[in-house]
């Protein structure tokens, strides 16, 4: 196997793996930008994966499946928004409860929404169609970069969503409002912005993206339903948001690096190469890297104010009438 071929295959695997992560990370960036930390991503993604698969299985309509998974993601994050914004609950604990509830509910419903012939279990069922890769003739044959043009519709959509998100956040007036709410809610409120409304809206949008990220797994990456199939991806998302320094434009760097590390294990195995590093070390390296990056960023921010800072009001409840 030649090296060029190997890299192309690795990139293809990275893109397939990274798509789900990118959607969810983008969603969490939006949410955290307004000052709400949503640790419910793992549960929300799993619910999205289940909702998408169950809909596709029962109706055969993939786009309806995407819609349902987004809706379910939004509903779960609505609970989070209600707890954190209206009831001013602790965001860490609220997020964890969403993850527990979402994970439990998805695993529960996965054994209730299947066909009677399989004891109502969805595990082991197949869907008739999935989001498969669509190769663009010509472009997809270029070595290495060709992998970028042989992906599923879900990945193609990201080529537009990512630049748009960056543009939206940093170059539009509404993006500025979003950032103001996360950086300094009091000032934003004084300018006549409804902090609660913006926070609700972007927590819901974040949940929609997380649901979509889950659906990417069950409708494209591994078209099936398995209990706990997100396997901690919702927590990687939290890490990736830090890694992207809360900038939607940089989300893709993190997902490529992390998706690449994970895919590398499989690609090397497939190529019949012996690994020098145990695969578990590769498995936890993203978290280790994030911890180092987080620490470095925090130190740099103290020396050079705010170069990579998190939104200042992140996980701080806000109420105008607070004494």
């Amino acid at each position: 196997m030649n090296l060029l071929d190997f890299i192309t295959k690795l990139l293809a695997a990275t893109l397939a793996m990274g798509t789900s992560l990118t959607y969810a990370t983008l969603g969490e960036v939006y949410t955290e930008k307004t000052g709400i930390l949503n640790l419910g991503m793992e549960g929300t993604m799993l619910m999205g994966a289940l909702a998408g698969f169950a809909t596709a299985f029962n109706t055969g309509n993939l786009f309806l499946a995407l819609l349902v998974s987004m809706l379910v993601g939004a509903l779960l994050s609505l609970i989070h928004a209600f707890l954190c914004i209206t009831m001013r609950a602790n965001q860490v604990v609220a997020g964890l409860s969403i993850t527990m509830f979402g994970t439990g509910l998805a695993n529960f419903l996965g054994q209730r929404l299947g066909p009677a012939s399989n004891n109502f279990n969805l595990t082991g069922m197949n869907i008739t169609n999935k989001f498969s890769n669509i190769a663009i003739p010509g472009l997809s044959e270029i070595p290495v970069i060709g992998a970028l043009f042989d992906v599923s519709l879900l990945t193609y959509a990201l080529y537009f969503i990512l630049p748009f998100s960056w543009f939206f956040m940093y170059k539009t007036k509404h993006g500025m409002v979003v950032r103001a709410v996360g950086e300094n809610p009091r000032t934003a409120a004084a300018m006549g912005i409804s902090v609660s409304k913006i926070r609700y809206l972007y927590t819901l949008i974040g949940g929609m993206f997380a649901g979509l990220g889950g659906a990417c797994l069950s409708l494209s990456f591994i078209p099936s339903w398995n209990e706990g199939m997100t396997g901690g991806k919702g927590w990687i998302v939290i890490a990736l948001v830090i890694f992207s320094t809360w900038n939607p434009g940089r989300v893709v760097i993190g997902t490529l690096v992390f998706g690449g590390i994970t895919s590398l294990q499989f690609s090397l195995q497939a190529a019949g190469l012996k690994m020098v590093i145990p695969s578990q070390f590769l498995g936890f390296s993203p978290y280790l890297i994030t911890l180092v990056v987080l620490t470095a960023m925090t130190i740099i921010n103290q020396k050079k104010k705010g170069s990579f800072a998190s939104p200042s009001a992140l996980s701080v409840p806000f109420a105008i009438d607070d004494k």
């Binding site: 009831m87 964890l96 509830f101 145990p278």
Partner: protein, 354 residues
């Protein structure tokens, strides 16, 4: 007419008691809706869960045995939460504890057999304390966000544990898991499945209650949590206390791991990250960080887990227990606001408070 919230001058004692009880009722009601929608009879299901958790002597023993690590994790998290340090790393500190004791059991064979268990337990606790101390130090030294750092540290140690039980420390037979600890180094059982770890847990509850409510250190921790600036003005070292609290917190989570592996699993193997650390967060929160109340909450959480195993006999998914664990917290989180705020109804002319 418009609803609004107004801060109370004092925490409402009545609400502190009422809110958790009402929340518990609401969550079971919500659970009943989930069950109803998925074509299961809620009353029958809850009945089966209750029987599954407390229906016989053996089942009660299972529930108590499960409550031991949960209680310890709840206590561990509670200490850090007291000074508003959001330690969500009890899961990792638990795993660090298991790694520590397994290391001693595997490689410290030069020790007399009698000493294997106590030394193993001590090393495990120290490993947990070390793993908790790192994010504490990062926070104290450079104010690195503890929610994120403890979360990352969980997955680092879980990955490392996986490496140990699949590769480095794998027993010659089988494809994962270390060699079982020698029989003489198991924590003895005292009543069926209930092992002597229960003594450690209960004694710790008393010690912690005393330390947190009756000593100067407990007072300092409380003060930092309630009003950091006031604590600083009083000359309380925040840095020192954060690190110290996290070492203690990590050590207790490590103890949970040590006890569970010395008494139940007797090895380091798959499933070492059982989610006890995360459930511990719910326990700490629901108990209002009170060690004695934690006992009750830990029992409820354990009962949900053992009770849901019984559901499989009814052809219902055992995941219902997990659903309930998440559901219990949601109304409580929503309701906690009423201990510090009161609901105010703004009408056109006069204000009525509830």
């Amino acid at each position: 007419m418009r609803l609004g919230l107004e801060k109370r001058d004092f925490r409402s004692k009545r609400m502190t008691v009422l809110v958790p009880i009402i929340s518990l009722l609401i969550s079971f009601l919500l659970g009943a809706i989930v069950l109803g929608i998925s074509n299961a009879n809620p009353l029958q299901t809850y009945g089966a869960m209750l029987k599954g958790a407390f229906g016989s002597q053996t089942k009660i023993q299972y529930t108590i045995a499960k409550a031991i690590p949960l209680l310890l994790c709840g206590l561990a998290v509670g200490i850090a939460f007291r000074l508003k340090f959001w330690n969500i790393g009890a899961e990792g500190q638990y795993v660090a504890g298991v790694i520590g004791i397994t290391w001693v059991m595997q490689f410290w064979t030069f020790l007399p057999e009698m000493l294997l268990l106590p030394v193993g337990m001590l090393v495990g606790v120290l490993c947990g304390a070390f793993w908790g101390g790192i994010p504490g130090a990062l926070k104290a030294q450079w104010s690195v966000d503890e929610t994120l750092s403890t979360l990352m540290m969980n997955y680092i140690i879980i990955g490392y544990a996986e490496y140990l039980y699949i590769n480095a420390w794998k027993a010659p037979r089988g494809n994962m898991g270390t060699v079982l600890y020698p029989n003489s180094a198991w924590l003895p059982r005292i009543w069926g499945r209930v092992h002597s770890g229960v003594y450690f847990a209960l004694i710790l509850v008393v010690i912690l209650w005393f330390v947190l409510y009756k000593t100067r250190w407990g007072f300092e921790l409380n003060m930092i949590g309630k009003n950091r600036r006031a604590a600083q003005c009083q000359g309380v070292s925040i840095k020192r206390n954060i690190i110290l609290a996290m070492i203690v917190s990590g050590g207790i989570a490590g103890l949970a791991g040590v006890i569970d592996s010395a008494a139940v699993t007797h090895q380091l193997t798959k499933g070492v990250n059982s989610g006890y650390g995360f459930t511990g967060i719910i326990i700490a929160w629901m108990s209002g960080l009170n060690p004695f109340v934690s006992i009750v909450v830990a029992l409820i959480m354990a009962a949900l887990e053992t009770g849901s195993d019984a559901l499989q006999l009814m052809k219902l998914p055992a995941a219902m227990g997990e659903v309930m664990q998440g559901l219990i917290l949601i109304p409580l989180l929503a309701g906690s606001i009423f201990t510090e705020y009161k609901l105010v109804v703004h009408t056109n002319h006069k204000e009525a408070t509830v």
